[in-house]
């Protein structure tokens, strides 16, 4: 599993915010009027995925792709 540096992890966390905020807008384009709580849930899901990738990268580092950043 690719190892994420703490710095990259933090930056990726920041990237999830606009994705979550605009998630409802995109859903609105397709006629789905989602409630406010959906934005929070979507953010939680994104953070969970990201944390999972981060932890797995630490537990099973791939030597070929390990980054020094």
């Amino acid at each position: 599993m690719r190892q994420l540096s703490p710095g990259l992890f933090l930056v990726l966390v920041a990237f999830t915010i606009p994705l979550a905020v605009e998630f409802r807008t995109v859903a609105g384009f397709f006629g789905f009027d989602l409630p406010f709580i959906s934005m929070i849930l979507f953010e939680v899901v994104l953070l969970a995925i990201l944390t999972g990738v981060y932890v797995l990268g630490r537990l099973t580092p791939d030597e070929d792709t390990a980054t020094t950043s």
């Binding site: 690719r2 994420l4 540096s5 703490p6 710095g7 990259l8 933090l10 930056v11 966390v13 920041a14 915010i17 606009p18 905020v21 605009e22 409802r24 807008t25 859903a27 609105g28 009027d33 989602l34 406010f36 792709t65 980054t67 020094t68 950043s69």
Partner: protein
Amino acid sequence: MATFVDRYPDEAKVVQASFAVAFIALGIGAFFGLIQALHRTNILRVIDSVDYYTLLTAHGVLLALVFTIFFLVGVFTWAIAKGFERPLPDIRLTWAWFGLMTTGTVLTAVAILAGLVPEIPMSADVLYTFYAPLEAHPAFYIGLAMFIVGTWMAGADWFLAYRDWRGDNPDERIPLQPFMVLTTMIMWYVSTLGVAVAVVFFLIPWSLGLIETVNPLLTRTLFWYFGHPVVYFWLMPAYLLWYTVLPKLAGGRLFSDPLARVVFVLFVLLSTPVGIHHQYVDPGIAEGFKFIAMTNTMFLLLPSLLTAFTVVASVEHGARQRGGEGYLSWLGALPWRDPAFAGMALAGLMFAAGGFSGMVNAGMNINYLVHNTLWVPGHFHMTVGTAVALTMMAGTYWLLPQITGKTVYSRPIGLFQVVLWFIGMVFMSNAMHRGGLLGIPRRTAEPQYQNFDFAAAVGSVGEIRMQIAFGGLLLFLSVVFFLFNVAATWAEDRVDTPVDDTIPAPLSPPSGAPLILDNLALWTGIAVVLVVLAYTLPLASIVTDSGLLGSSPGFPVAISLEALAEAAASALPHVSLDAAAGLRPLDVAAEAAETLEVSR
């Protein structure tokens, strides 16, 4: 290994002083921004709504003019000395422009902040754009004039350094960083003529009572003659850092020196003849002139897109030098732990989003949809508020060690701070854009939501307000972390090698650039011709319509709640309750005032 402060100690002091003024302005301006965000969204009100406009003016002037431009003069002084590899010709001249700019800043700030103290007969609640017929205290305009003259002297200082360098190196290409400084200053000289004329010939005499009236459309047009290029004046130091420092931080080299020169030349040519795009809804300017301004504005996309290509290519090169591979996987190889790199990269990303919302502002037809709504501050908080401000804060983490000889106090705090700024701005600017699309107005302490049906495509007005307040809070906290980190760095002990300050040679060197790119006189001449073509007819038309001095007296911008209450109390006996039934309070007040006037 010696760094900047060891090689150029006198210049380092000037850069330190410039940064110090910039950061003080940043702290005060950000605090006012937080108060506004909480007040406007009705989360927390610690000021009267009357004072909101005083703080709004101070917020705009301190952040958009003082923070950005003081940081700019610091960076440019650093770039000139480092690029030409020599001290500035006369350090007394350098301190003179710094002193003049600082004095002007203090004068302007006092004129604005005095508005908070009723006992002081001084106010300047004219907002950052200081449109006539809103009239400020003369000290406001005089301070601004001193500030601008100070920047002109700074430019002269740097051109004198160039002259000395050219005398010793007649056949050399201008080093890239000084080239960027000099072209930016050419643009600045051309563009500040407008605001200089407006302030010196109209607004100062008018505020002093030497002339009774002004032509608001003329002064407003002259303001925007300067008001759009000033955006690029803020942006150019950020570009300088993106082009020359960001590739180095990424572990690589600038992709193309010639392309960077082309971009800066294009900004010299295209920055100024576009200002009328800020006046699409102004009566008195023919639609044709507005269309020309729109077309010119769209041309400005070219240098922006060239920059996106060059900077991303340079960063990708750096990532691949660090072992990055694949189409996108190389992004993971970048030095995201470095707050200087991460902050600049996030700022660049936000700039792309700001560029897209700017295209909406620039389009004549769709501008009407968002004009004077919250969309506009949403846009410029992404551009100047993030692309510029975040780049400057991030760049500080690389520059401060060079000018102080001290290592950054905490890089983790630095990284956290730049990421916090990005997140805060996502919340705030996103909500502002969405609010703007609903038609929520900007520049008001008391936005009214009861009598309008804001049809939100997604979410509600309440959510937008919460998002703005939350984003504003995060942004303020980010500034607190930044200022703490800077102050703690300054308090550190000096070390031998605080940072690697070398800048590697570009992949495509300047020798590949046509010599004509370095012909500064030619580009200045063409820029002046373009300005003359774009502005002669509109200005002649405005003067023909209403005269040079117009017919508008000054309107006081200082109102007190006491005076308002007295006026309301004296009007109340004349209000008929029957007649007032079904009317909104403002209409009742207007009717009462009318009745009172008639009865007199």
